[in-house]
Symmetry: C2
Subunit: 251 residues, 2 copies
DNA sequence: AAGTGGTCTAGACCACCGT
DNA sequence: CGGTGGTCTAGACCACTTG
C-alpha cells in the first residue's frame, strides 16, 4: 500500500489506476475474506487504519463508507466499525422478502426435514460453478408464518464448504440459516440474486403447502454469493402467496 | 441556510439537529420539487453552491453524494452534475425487472390500447391517497418482448396531475412511459414499491397474454412515488413467466 | 475522561471534458 | 485552456459510548 503507486507506474502496459481509498477498501475486503475479523467483530478504528496505511483519516473514511453502503461493515457512532453479521436482526429481512398481506412482519419458523449428500444435477452445477456430479448437500425445509406453511425451500450447497452439515444442526435453534452458515462454517453470504416466476404447483409442493395441484405458486430461484462473488448456495423456493406477498423496493 | 443554526437553537423544545450537508440536501431536493432544474439539466457546480451557501466544497459534495446514491442526480466528471431523467438509458431498467430466460435484454415495445377517465375504486384510492370516487385515469397496455406478449398492465393515475393524457400521446414513440410523464406532465417517478404474487389467469388476461384460463401468472402491483413520497401511480401488471423471469438483486 | 465515529474546513492537486 | 468533478490532506470540533 505504498503511496503514489499509480504515479510511479509509468510502464508501457496499461497501468492499474486505483485511488488510494480503493486500495484500502480492497485490503479491508481481503482481510474479511481471509477471516481476520469475524462477523460482529470490531475492525481497527479509523485513526489506527489511517496511521497503518499512512493516509489521512478522510481517505480511510471513504473506503469504510463504501463498504458500509454495501452492507459489509456497520458503523456505530462512539463504539466503532463492525463486521456485518446475519445474527444482527437489522440485516435479517434483507434476504426474506415475504410479508403477510395484513399486519406487520411476524417471525418465521424454519422446519428443515431433509438433508442429504447428493450429486449435482447440471442445473445445480451450473449455478454453483461446479461440474455435474460433484457432491452437493441437498436440504429441504418449510417456512411457517404464524403457523401457516408458506414456503417450501430446496437448498443446494457446495459440499466442500459445508461438509458435516446435519439435519440436527439445522434444527438447532432460532438462528437463521445464514447465521448458522456464518458461525458454524465460516461462510458469509454477502449477496444474492433471485429469479421469480409463477408456476403451477406439482404434487409434492401442493401437499406440503396445503394447496391443490396446479394452483399458482411463486417460484423463487436464488443464487447466493460469498466474498469474491463466489456462488455457494442455490435454492429453489416455492411461495404460497394466498395470504402473503413478495415485496420489492425499486430504489 | 444560516450557519450554526443548530447551535443557536437553545430552545426548550427538542431542537431539530441536522448537519449542514443535510440542510443543503434538503434545499436541493426542494429545488427539484419546485422544478427549478428540469430532468437532464445541469445543477450549479459544487464550487458555486459552496459559495452560495457559505460552506466548504466538501460539505456540498456530501449532500450531492447522497442524492446521487438515491438516483436523484447523476455526476459526470469534467462536465457537471445533472438531474436524473428517465430518458437516460442507464436508468431505464430500474423499473422493468423482466428479462428473457435465454439471452440478453431486448428492447420492449409498449402497446397501449385503452385510456379513460374513471372513478377511483376503494383499492385504487387507498393506493393513491385519494377518496373513493375521485377521478383517475385508467390505462391498459401490453408489453412485448421480441414479438411475444409478456405483460398486461393496468395503470391508474391521479387525474389532476395527468389531465389531458390521451391514447394518442401514449402511442407516441419509443419513449418509456415514465419518460413521457416527465416531459409532458412534469411528474418524475423517483421511487416505487412492488408486491408480487402468483395468481391464476382470468379470462381477459389469458386472452391478451395467449395463455389458458387458470394458468399461473405473476401479479406485480406497483405504487410509484414522486418527490416527497407522494404516490401518483398505481399499477397492476400480469406477467407471463413462461419464457421470462423477474429479476431481483438482494444487495 | 478517553476513545470512537460524524461533521466541517481550506486548500492542494489530479482526471476529464469541452473549446 | 478553463471549468468540472474526483482524490487527498491536516487539523478542528462535535456527538456518542464506555469506563
Amino acid at each position: 500500500m505504498t503511496r503514489d503507486a499509480n504515479r510511479s507506474a509509468t510502464r508501457a502496459t496499461a497501468p492499474t489506476f486505483s485511488p488510494l481509498y480503493r486500495q484500502i477498501k480492497d485490503f479491508l475486503i481481503g482481510s474479511l475474506e481471509r477471516g481476520e475479523w469475524g462477523p460482529g467483530d470490531a475492525i481497527p478504528s479509523e485513526g489506527e487504519l489511517a496511521q497503518r496505511f499512512n493516509v489521512s483519516q478522510g481517505t480511510v473514511r471513504k473506503a469504510i463508507d463504501e463498504m458500509a453502503a454495501e452492507n459489509l461493515l456497520v458503523r456505530r457512532q462512539g463504539k466503532g466499525t463492525f463486521v456485518s453479521t446475519h445474527s444482527d436482526p437489522r440485516s435479517f429481512y434483507r434476504f426474506l422478502r415475504l410479508l403477510p398481506d395484513d399486519g406487520v412482519a411476524v417471525p418465521s419458523a424454519s422446519d428443515p426435514f431433509y438433508c442429504e449428500n447428493v450429486s449435482a444435477t447440471p442445473e445445480v452445477a451450473a449455478a454453483l460453478g461446479l461440474q455435474p456430479g460433484d457432491p452437493v448437500i441437498h436440504v429441504k425445509r418449510l417456512l411457517r408464518f404464524a403457523g401457516e406453511t408458506v414456503v417450501f425451500d430446496q437448498i443446494y450447497l457446495a459440499a466442500d464448504l459445508f461438509s458435516g452439515l446435519t439435519l440436527e444442526a439445522l434444527r438447532g435453534g432460532e438462528r437463521s440459516l445464514y447465521s448458522l452458515f456464518e458461525s458454524d462454517f465460516g461462510v458469509r453470504m454477502i449477496n444474492a440474486e433471485e429469479r421469480l416466476r409463477a408456476i403451477a404447483a406439482d404434487p409434492e409442493s401442493a401437499d406440503l403447502l396445503g394447496v391443490a395441484v396446479g394452483d399458482p405458486l411463486l417460484l423463487v430461484e436464488r443464487t447466493a454469493y460469498t466474498y469474491g462473488n463466489k456462488p455457494v448456495e442455490w435454492r429453489r423456493g416455492l411461495y404460497c402467496t394466498r395470504n402473503h406477498y413478495y415485496r420489492n423496493d425499486l430504489g
